[in-house]
């Protein structure tokens, strides 16, 4: 659980949509969606999977992985 100070810091430093969506109630569901999509990506390397992963990592503020999957969304191999 976040301390009051870190929660206040979070509120004041992240004003964009992604942080608003990143509430405690959705974090668990985002994690499980990421796990499922990562499993799927191993067997079925389609563009939409990487796009969805990029969006989900963005929701979790994981910028590096969001960027990686966004880039894969442009040029990935597809059946």
């Amino acid at each position: 659980m976040l301390s009051r100070r870190s929660k206040a810091k979070q509120i004041f430093s992240n004003y964009d949509k992604y942080s608003l969506l990143n509430s405690h109630s959705t974090v668990g569901r985002i994690d499980s969606a990421i796990a499922n999509l990562n499993k799927l990506a191993k067997s079925d390397n389609q563009i939409f999977i990487h796009t969805n992963l990029a969006q989900l990592y963005m929701l979790k503020s994981n910028l590096d992985l969001a960027e990686t999957h966004a880039r894969k969304s442009f040029t990935n191999k597809c059946r």
Binding site: I11, D16, K17, L20, A70, S73, C78
Partner: protein
């Protein structure tokens, strides 16, 4: 012959929005703007919101206000945009206009703690201690 073909989709709309968001978070505002400008002209509220945030990051307040207002024309119920417009007003001490935006957010999402917090800031600025007490009781 069947097999894997390289599919290059350089116009992937959603991926571009994510990439622009990544650059924005890294404060690479020009790069973020470049990615967004490569999107088709009929922009949704999410894209206009990002344009507004980039302008806000660059301290271009009238541009930021323009984009947030355009985004609200596209989707008046986009809470994130309304929050950002309120924050922009707050940043430039346009207290009344900021209050209107946060009140509208709270009308749609009464439990929005971010909006409550900003309203509290406004009430403090206005020395409106009665409302501040009401808000803190309901937080």
């Amino acid at each position: 012959m069947q097999g894997k073909a390289l599919q290059i989709n350089v116009d992937n709309y959603d991926a571009k929005i994510v990439l622009a968001g990544v650059y924005f978070r890294r404060e690479m505002f020009d790069l973020a703007q470049m990615v967004l400008e490569s999107l088709p002209s009929d922009k949704n509220s999410e894209v206009l919101n990002l344009f507004g945030l980039i302008a806000m990051g660059k301290d271009e307040k009238s541009k930021a206000s323009y984009y947030f207002k355009e985004a609200l024309k596209v989707d008046p119920n986009d809470i994130a945009v309304r929050m950002n417009l309120g924050i922009l007003y707050l940043k430039y001490r346009r207290i009344n206009e900021a209050g209107i935006q946060f009140e509208r957010v709270l009308a749609v999402t009464p439990d929005n703690n971010d909006a409550k917090l900003h309203m509290a800031t406004i009430y403090m600025a206005e020395n409106n201690l009665i409302w501040l007490k009401v808000l803190s009781r309901n937080a």
